[in-house]
């Protein structure tokens, strides 16, 4: 069974190569069917492996099993979290392929296979990153994920915004990747190893952490946190997620950003958690600080958006902030909670993007103000969008609610307030959009730009060749299934227990915690939903008081769309990481 682990990467890559080789010979439906079949096969494989992953697999690529505890090969880790992420990535790829079925704009002539092939390569990269147990191998898949994602983001080359967002994304993420590689170089210099566990052992053998460990930690984390879009590394995310084709947005927000968080968890747990690494209090301080900043800034910026996809992108920033806090506190219960939260969030967020895509293709706009009351006819989509908003708020029994309540209980104290507030504000923004666009509630907002410093959602072109007069069934079925999946995470009995078991088996030193609904958690979930509803209602009825865009102008000005600014922020972020982690290392 272990031997099948590399197939998670090999199958999508082979599928992509076949699609490109045969893409010009076959008609488009065949190419898309092949794409779906390959993605589905990989997803099935990931699920089968996941179900058998207790105890976790360790596979040595190329059959280089260790001799005397040391190997020259690459190790792959097939544990619950890794395979879970691979399965999630594969399922979402399948959803994205199904969503883009037939509908997506005419592919370049003779390149029927190029869009599905890029999606499959993206999937291969994500799966490879999820199961990587070797730091350099993780870097390679990180880059593949990046390269495929840049090309997919800029795929609509006729859109001025799309190519700009893709370039920003590509430059910032590549810089992060090179920082990661510098960190790998430092770790290799110290330990002479590349396997994550081997590096961890090497650091511990060297004794107390010093400046080298700190620098390596900062550089590696910079790379991963750029992917995870922690503040102040997050600027690329709204620019890229707002402009990417909808199926790609589903993947970017649903799983790629979360893989950055997963990478932080994996690398800290295997490399830096020992006595020779970064002490737990320092890690906790660093991650909780950056995560809290991301949650606050993401939520505030989300509230002030009128471009619907951009709004959803900021809510992703806020939620990854919450995930980072959960990972940062280093408690087994929090890990379980985050795993569930992440699964629930992926379904809800991908569904919301899918609904936004329907609006774009039907009305040629994703602007909340311009669309006021125009989508009354789309009853089904309205229901899905509202359900998505409620799921984002954490309404029981959504998976998000279960994950959030478990995490809240683990982090405790003022951080609980942050969880409730951030999820309530982002959900309120989504519900506000739902109320205005689908129900036509409240006065029609003025169409002009408020401060002039904002990105409106008008002037976008539909992704389909023509504006849709009728929504294809696949485009509504996909978000419906995704919302149902998010519900299932919270409802299916025993699911939470299985997730908790497989997360705790590898992380948190085998301490098993349980994850289940508690009265307090349900109440907090209801509370944040109520808050979200009230906020949304107030915003719709009193737009002047509650949605004046000039309130947070200084914050909005930071999001300048200028790639040089974002690079400068990456440098500052790395310094901040270092400053936050430094105190504990000085003490010893």
């Amino acid at each position: 069974m272990d031997d099948l682990l590399p197939l998670l990467v090999a199958v999508p890559l082979l599928g992509a190569a076949l699609l490109v080789a045969g893409g010009r010979l076959v008609p488009r439906p065949v190419a898309e069917t092949v794409g779906c079949a390959v993605a589905a096969t990989t997803a099935a494989l990931a699920l089968v492996l996941l179900l058998n992953s207790s105890p976790p697999f360790l596979e040595w690529a190329g059959g280089w099993t260790p001799v005397n505890g040391r190997s020259v090969g690459i190790v792959l880790i097939g544990d619950g979290p890794g395979l879970g992420m691979a399965a999630l990535a594969s399922l979402l790829t399948l959803a994205a392929l199904a969503y883009s079925w037939h509908y997506f704009d005419e592919p370049p002539s003779g390149h029927a296979g190029s869009f599905p092939a890029l999606l499959l390569l993206f999937q291969g990269g994500m799966c490879g990153f999820a199961i990587a147990g070797d730091l350099f191998n993780a870097f390679v898949w990180f880059e593949l994920m990046g390269v495929a994602a840049y090309a997919l983001t800029g795929h609509r080359v006729e859109e001025a915004r799309a190519v700009q967002g893709a370039l920003t994304f590509a430059v910032v993420t590549s810089l992060g990747a090179y920082a990661l590689l510098m960190g790998i170089g430092l770790l290799y210099a110290r330990t002479g190893e590349l396997g994550m566990h081997a590096i961890g052992r090497g650091l511990d053998a060297h004794g107390r952490p010093d400046a080298l460990v700190l620098a390596a930690f900062v550089l590696v984390m910079t790379g991963l946190l750029v992917k995870a879009a922690a503040v102040p590394f997050h600027f690329w995310l709204p620019d890229a997620h707002a402009v990417a084709p909808t199926p790609v947005c589903m993947l970017l927000s649903g799983v790629m950003v979360e893989l950055g968080t997963f990478g932080v968890w994996r690398v800290y747990g295997t490399v830096f958690a020992g006595p020779g690494g970064v002490p737990a209090p320092e890690f906790e301080r660093t991650l909780v600080t950056l995560g809290a900043l991301a949650a606050v800034i993401g939520a505030v910026m989300c509230w002030y958006q009128r471009h619907i996809k951009r709004l959803l992108a900021y809510s992703t920033v806020a939620h990854t902030g919450l995930f980072l806090i959960g990972v940062g506190v280093l408690k087994p219960e929090a890990d379980d909670g985050i795993a569930l939260y992440l699964l629930g969030h992926a379904g809800v967020k991908a569904a919301l993007f899918a609904c936004a895509g329907i609006l774009l293709d039907r009305y040629g706009s994703v602007d909340e103000h311009a669309l006021h009351g125009r989508a009354r006819e789309l009853k089904g989509v309205a229901v899905l969008f509202t359900l998505g908003g409620l799921g984002l708020a954490g309404l029981p029994p959504f998976g998000t609610a279960l994950g959030k309540s478990v995490t809240e209980e683990a982090v405790g104290g003022p951080l609980t307030v942050l969880y409730v507030a951030a999820s309530a504000v982002t959900a309120a923004a989504v519900l506000r959009v739902a109320g205005r666009v689908f129900l036509g509630l409240g006065p029609k907002p003025a169409d002009g730009t408020g401060s002039g410093y904002e990105t409106t959602g008008s002037g976008e072109r539909p992704e389909t060749r023509h504006r849709l007069s009728r929504i294809p069934d696949t485009m509504t079925a996909v978000p419906a299934v995704l919302v149902a999946g998010s519900l299932a995470v919270g409802v299916v009995p025993g699911f939470a227990k299985v997730v908790a078991h497989s997360v705790n088996e590898t992380g948190s030193a085998g301490v098993a915690a349980s994850a289940h609904w508690t009265p307090a958690g349900v109440l907090l979930g209801l509370l944040s939903t109520l808050l979200a509803g009230v906020l949304a209602l107030l915003a719709v009825t009193r737009p002047k008081t509650f949605a004046a865009p000039d309130r947070a102008l200084w914050l909005r000005r930071l999001q300048s769309g200028h790639v040089g600014d974002y690079v400068a922020w990456v440098l500052v972020g790395a310094t901040v990481l270092g400053a936050l982690t430094l105190p504990g290392l000085l003490g010893g």
Binding site: A151, V157, L212
Partner: protein
């Protein structure tokens, strides 16, 4: 954000990172040190599998899984550039006017072309023995083909370079790499394990088991990929024009 503010950010961030990195450099083992456990194991493993060039052994045997990722990145970039630099609906193709090239340049280019091409192929073939291999040789071979642009003209280049064929070649080479890996898995060993073929006599062309096979696949992939990448950019630079007035 003003330029001045950005410069301040760069100064603060850069200074912090520089200080951190300098402190780390002082803690690094001194340059030229003797502690390379993984490297020593890799040398040993390479010799045990009769591969003379240890780097080829690391790339195509011990860490062949990394190379799979690397060649896929190149492959993804080729598809990505194809999609990004496609001819859009508002653009048309203009036939480039033939350009005058000085006779000595032309003669030089046509003379060097076969030499460079052969050098590339030689470098690919000897990957497991001497410095070089699929990557280096592939790039050299592909770039040398473009001397034809200098030596003759763009049309001549287009004739020997049907992009579609090279793109297919790229995909086939990538699949060949994956299939070689799968063959080992089906043969009862692990994915990409070098157990299918005999390791051969040390320091000969056929030594190293599957190393020469994977090396050749990478060579073909890189050569095709570079040809296609350059073709996309040449296309944009020379042929594709935006339709004005349409």
């Amino acid at each position: 954000m003003s330029r001045r503010f950005r410069l301040w950010l760069v100064a603060v961030g850069g200074a912090g990172l520089a200080a951190l990195f300098t402190a780390a450099a002082l803690d690094l083992p001194a340059f030229g040190g003797d502690h390379h456990p993984y490297g020593d194991r890799a040398v040993h493993a390479s010799l045990s599998r009769h591969t003379a060039n240890v780097i080829a052994s690391v790339n195509f045997d011990q860490r062949a899984f990394d190379t799979l990722g690397e060649m896929t990145i190149l492959f993804a970039a080729v598809i990505g550039c194809g999609a990004l630099l496609r001819q859009t609906r508002d653009e048309h193709r203009a036939t480039p006017e033939p350009q005058e090239v000085a006779r000595p340049v032309r003669r030089y280019a046509l003379l060097v072309l076969p030499v460079a091409l052969l050098t590339g192929l030689y470098v690919i073939a000897h990957g497991q023995l001497s410095p070089g291999g699929g990557f280096q040789g592939g790039v050299v071979a592909a770039t040398s083909l473009h001397l034809l642009y200098l030596g003759a003209d763009y049309r001549a280049l287009e004739r020997v370079r049907p992009v579609a064929l090279y793109e297919t070649g790229d995909a086939v080479a990538t699949s060949a790499y994956v299939v070689t890996g799968l063959a080992a898995l089906i043969g009862g060993s692990a994915f990409l394990a070098n157990t299918l073929l005999p390791y051969g006599t040390f320091n000969t062309l056929s030594s190293g088991g599957t190393v020469p096979l994977l090396n050749a696949a990478v060579g073909m992939e890189v050569a095709c990929a570079v040809v296609v990448l350059l073709a996309r950019f040449l296309d944009q630079a020379v042929e594709i024009e935006e339709g004005n007035g349409t």
